[in-house]
Amino acid sequence: MLPFLKIMVRNLLQGPSTDPFPFAPAKTPARFRGAAVHDSEKCILCGICRHVCAAGAIQLRAAEDGSGMQFMLWHNSCVYCGMCAHYCPTGALTMSDNWHLSHLGEDKYTFSEDSFVPFGECAQCGARIQPRPNVIVEKLGGRAPDQFLLCPKCKRESLVKHASDTNLSQFREKQ
């Protein structure tokens, strides 16, 4: 008796084992790495995502009026590796479980994650700094929220002042 016959009969009785997609939804696991999603509310324009992207799918373009940056992620160039989402320090980039990626040829230049991230303002002098969204201030700038919202120049000044104040008070204590 052929050893495979039993398996073949069983498989025949069980019927097809493929998903009936597109007539029914295909099951997608929660961890599935589909199209990347960008949340401009959380982005600090650090550029790490662009740095780790092997496919060159991410572009950051400065707006002409200097008010912010255009974040672009081309789904057509993306290879869905998820490196950008893994290294994004703020969680602004995530991989969704959306794998519906077919689109018309005429849509190929609009098939992207396209969002505008405005620059922030220095809390002291009003100079243009990288964006400091609230969620991020809570997460990253928790230790010294005031300094987190300053431009590099004001931050330096405030640090120097802080250091000299501490030195002075330590000096006084010693006396």
């Binding site: 052929l2 050893p3 495979f4 398996i7 073949m8 498989n11 084992s17 696991p29 961890r31 599935f32 790495r33 740095h51 780790v52 992207c53 092997a54 496919a55 290879v79 869905y80 590796c81 998820g82 490196m83 893994h86 290294y87 991989m95």
Partner: protein, 361 residues
């Protein structure tokens, strides 16, 4: 009356679905000599690697080949870690082993499935692929992709396996065990498979050593060389497994050996899930890669994979070179094919589990 003529096969080859050109000298139905010509799909990946930083190269090396798409970035990351002196946390080492072994099972099942297809036994081919589906679903559920796991990063791994995912993975393995045992029985005993594959594509132990073949091809010819045992990396020195070997050295023994290795892999994954320590899965912070050279080796599903890295201290490698298992194995095809029948060529070629996309990168 016999006549010698040259039979060109390829570049689009029946067995491979990847381009490879054979010039086969035939007398009647018997093969007298083989010449291989490669280079049809050269992609210049080693040059690309010199233009991408270390992070980008993880994704690039993962795309060298889909079936060993975890072995490449894992070995690349090991080479970087060796050079930069990065210590990978123990939990991450176990997670890397799990990813490697899951890929190995899927890769081996794919190869034996194709073998069934080449013997004309397509219902067995489809059944083997369906059994493999259990591992494909496991990859999708655990890592988020059916082929490119994206598990390794420099200094650790990207995804952790929590209690829920571990339960899911164990379930898939449990479902696989009886199926794999049944499949082994079919491949071992089926008369069609036996007549088409036994005593074909013979490679003696001596010839195996002479050609320095690696992986299942070497082990089926009696050379029990397995890097996981010879030079343990990741967590392999803490795991119990048997290096499979055989002495028959024919197409049939290579297929059976792969199936036995898949069984070992299931046990390795289960041991990992049992004894994985708690802790971080990646080392903290970014470490600069200093100037220097390093080498890393792993046992990919097809055999020993070697990565060589030279750095000048910048964030892109100065040179990244890899030697893939197929490179060692395909020269031995000339020995395996000598004297075989024309109809057996695809079976013999498939039995070394060639990966042209690795070899030509």
């Amino acid at each position: 009356m016999s006549e010698t003529y040259t039979l060109p096969i390829g570049p689009l080859h029946v067995a491979l679905e990847e381009p490879m050109y054979f010039d086969i000298k035939v007398e009647g139905e018997t093969v007298q000599g083989v010449e291989l010509a490669a280079g049809h799909v050269h992609r210049g990946m080693e040059a690309l690697a010199m233009h991408r930083n270390y992070f980008q190269n993880i994704t690039l090396t993962e795309r060298v080949c889909s079936l060993c798409s975890n072995s490449h970035p894992a070995t690349f990351c090991m080479a970087v870690e060796n050079l930069a002196g990065i210590e990978v946390p123990m939990r991450a080492q176990y997670l890397r082993v799990i990813a490697d072994e899951v890929k190995r099972i899927a890769s081996h099942l794919f190869n034996v499935g194709i073998m069934a297809h080449l013997t004309g036994f397509d219902s067995l081919f489809m059944h083997a692929m369906e059994v493999r589906e259990l591992m494909q679903d496991a990859k999708e559920g655990v890592y988020g992709n059916r082929m490119n796991l994206g598990q390794c990063t420099i200094g650790g791994t990207r995804t952790d396996i929590d209690a829920d995912i571990a339960r899911f993975l164990r379930g898939q393995l449990e479902a696989l065990k009886p199926q794999l045992a049944e499949l082994y029985g079919v491949f071992e005993r089926d008369p069609l498979i036996r007549t088409r594959t036994r005593g074909i594509g013979l490679l003696s132990e001596q010839e195996a050593k002479l050609h320095a073949v690696v992986g299942p091809v070497a082990r089926a010819s009696g050379v029990a060389y397995d890097l996981r045992r010879k030079a343990p990396y990741a967590a392999y020195d803490e795991l119990r497994f048997e290096v499979q070997s055989d002495t028959a050295g024919d197409v049939h023994s290579r297929a059976l050996l792969r199936l036995r290795e898949a069984v070992e892999s299931i046990s390795i994954v289960e041991q990992c899930l049992d004894q994985m320590p708690e802790g971080p899965v990646k080392s903290e912070g970014f470490v600069a890669v200093p100037a220097g050279e390093s080498v890393a080796r792993t046992e990919a599903p097809r055999g020993e994979l070697i990565y060589y890295l030279r750095s000048d201290g910048s964030d892109t490698p100065q040179r990244l070179k890899w030697r893939v298992p197929t490179y060692m194995n395909w020269e031995a095809l000339q020995v395996m094919m000598a004297g075989c029948q024309v109809a057996d060529i695809p079976l013999i070629v498939n039995s070394i589990d060639p990966c042209i996309s690795c070899t030509e990168r």
